[in-house]
Amino acid sequence: MSVETLPREEVEAKPVAPLKAKDFKGKVDPDWCPGCGDFGVLSSLQRACVNLGLRPHEILTISGIGCSSNFPGFFNSYGMHTLHGRALAVATGAQMANHELTVFVTGGDGDGYGIGGNHFTHTARRNVDLTYIVMDNQIYGLTTGQVSPTSSIDMRTKSTPFGSVEAPINPITAAIMNGATFVARAFSGDARHLTGLIEQAVQHRGFALIDVFSPCVTFNKDNDYPFFKQRVKKLEDEGHDPGDWKAACEKAMIWGDEIYTGLFFQKKGAPTLGDQEPVLDEGGAIARRELGITVEQSDRIIKRMM
């Protein structure tokens, strides 16, 4: 090992100063287009981490590929910028192997609901304890503007020049049906609301989805800031009960002059995947345990083979 280590006590004895949002600024500035909705998500996550008292090394932020998947590079924490669509699979492995980390998964609608759709379904039903923030711009941005799984019918894009004929996925109802235990929607133009939802999502034990309307100012001229500003209505203002999955689905199906944001559904107390994993009952994160097996375990195994 090339790096000298100090005894743990000395490290822990140092006073921990409260952090500011800028402390969660990454090594480089975002390369998103000016006005991109993802800026609002980044600042909201930074603010939420301050409010939650988290420190960068306690966080692992995992993304796939796409404009929004560049997120970990702009955020000061441990990060993984993985393959297109695979962030949730990687995150499940990382979270289960070290459940002491706070795990964020950040990505887009194509990454999460398209190429990564299978992992979205199964991560939700497994109730892996992580927060999944989807920056949903209803378009493929990094490939310069093609139809996405959340694009509306009739939307004209470079790959659908005469209008899309495919119905979009509804991430909210899909997540609820797949067994997600925290399902919310936000608008990146309302950072305060989003920050609050992120804080709730982190405090929630289990799989938390926040689908964020994050307008693509370059390629999606249909679903821009004014489109959402005129339409979004907060569920909190209507006395919606997040424990009522049927009401949550009804609200989530509304898409027109009014579009709801806020916490649609939450099932509290459902066991997480980690809760149901007996290997985690004691001994801390498996990633930090001593390797190998004991002589007694080895003897038992070999005896059974004889």
Binding site: M1, S2, V3, T5, L6, V11, D23, K25, G26, K27, V28, P56, H57, E58, L60, T61, I62, I65, P72, G73, N76, Y78, G79, M80, H81, T82, L83, R86, A89, V90, A91, T92, G93, A94, Q95, M96, A97, N98, L101, N118, H122, E277, V279, L280, I286, A287, R288, R289, E290, L291, G292, I293, V295, Q297, S298, R300, I301, I302, M305, M306
Partner: protein, 616 residues
Amino acid sequence: MSSERFDFAIAIGGAAGQGIATPGNVLARIFIRRGLHLNAYNAYQSIIRGGHIFLTMRICDQPVHNHGDKLDLLVCLNQDTMDRHLCLMGSGTRVIYNSDTITPGTPEDGVHLCPLPINELTDNNRNKLVQNTVALGTILYMLDVDFQILEDIITMQFQRKGQEVVDENVGVARAGYDYAAAHFEPFAQSLPSGGKPQAVWTGNDALAMGGAAAGVKFYCAYPMSPSTGVLHWMAQNARELGIMVRQVEDEIGVANMAIGAAHVGCRSMCATSGGGFALMTEAVGSAAMMEIPVVFIDVQRAGPSTGVPTKTEQGDLWQILGASQGDFERFIVAPTDALDAFHTVPELFNLVDRFQCPGIVISDLLISEGTFSVDPDAIDMQPGIDRGELITESNNGASDIPTGSQLANGHGLIGAPSNGYLRYENTESGISPRALPGVEGHAHVVATDEHDEDGVLVSDEFTNPHKRRKMVEKRARKFRNIAESIEPPALLGSSAEDAEITLIGWGSTHGVIREAVETLNREGVAVNHLPIKWIVPLHADAIREVFDNAKKTVIVENNHSGQFHRYLRSETGLSADGHIRKYDGEPFMPHHIVDGVRELLAGTTDIYVPYQEVIV
């Protein structure tokens, strides 16, 4: 059966669902407890009920490396077995069958037909599996084994089901034993005893145990024959050994989940077969790019595509060599048998940890699903563990919070951690100390995009060709002189000067070539054998030296196109003089190699493809 040593083979044939596994397991336990060595191959079909199953068990008083050429005893559980396989039986052999349901064919002279009137012997027991137990009694009488030994094993096997079931099975086994005593002639050689008791395992057990010994704490898989045995072993032993085992939605998820667990510090492993490995390939390259150590196992079956799911082949080599886009560093190793597979997995984990890259184990159905005896003392589950340059503790009060001056620099800021930690530091060795997530003062991003030493994406600024070149060369430097980290292949059999033919095989053909070489040497044909285990790195110099000194080189492989031959040529320019290839789904038998050597020496062909006599 030869007179000087005990070398005996039993085959049991029947349909799936007729319960071949139970008598197979009972016999295996009896043999290994007497210190005999076992090599069993089960030929089966991709069907749960019906189809044809043909289990060959070869038992020797010395270590045995393949399932052999000939049978001494055939047990027919159905007419199909009689019809298909009676032709394999020669003089002095025995054929046991249920005479109530099976009509014997016309055997060769000297074959003893041994009909069992099952209904009469079992008092018209309506349980269709009862004939298996009667046959067990008959087999053990013929091998001169004391009945008490069978009674003990049956009692152990059935005690969970209650005393009544035990008594019933012991009773019908006794009937088979006594009936044989009254009607059949035992074999000339009785079953030897007194050797050191052996253990029994499959190759998949060995791969899983190698992982457990190496310290695997995270195993995930999607079921796929013939790799599923690894998942089953892991699942069965997970709780006792503190290993987390996950069955995942697809192999894409498997590979990526294993990488996630590996990145935070677990030794992490997954196994699949060719089709599943195809889905994993993008992740293999991502582990190389992010420099995350993880082990993939591909248990080959006959391809292409879904292929022949229950049959063996060495047909995935080029898929594995070409798995994932771009140039990257990874280990590829093809263990030569189950015990070698067990030892290889911990060795590979040490290598991938030291060099921070993926490693791929190539097994096949023959190794993975074969059942073998093993010396229990050879199973060392405490191998040395080397995790390479790993940072697991915070140091010097380092902070992840950037300082004001660092922030003021904006773009190109080097290392947000105040200690200047660079995950991908451009070191002389190419190996950069790896900090595990959670360690304060070392926060960094790993990326599948090309990145600079600090993890920042090259394409986030502008695609800097000098940075790109630096990072490609940094990763490549890890594998400079990499062959020194593994053992070179060694020539076995006749000396290099004497050998008329040098046989070169890779992976699972080791056991069958080894016996063919012994046979040929005994018969006065000087032959030697170069088994290749490590595919990457390849000890090109050691192989070239063997080729330079060989009179005639022959590559033996279980595929159609000579995948290893093409690889060897691409890496070394060496080309073999002849080939023995088999691609009918069944593994080589020793005489296939012996016949091939004779044909190639006679010069009648350059590529010998043996005929498969056992048709299942």
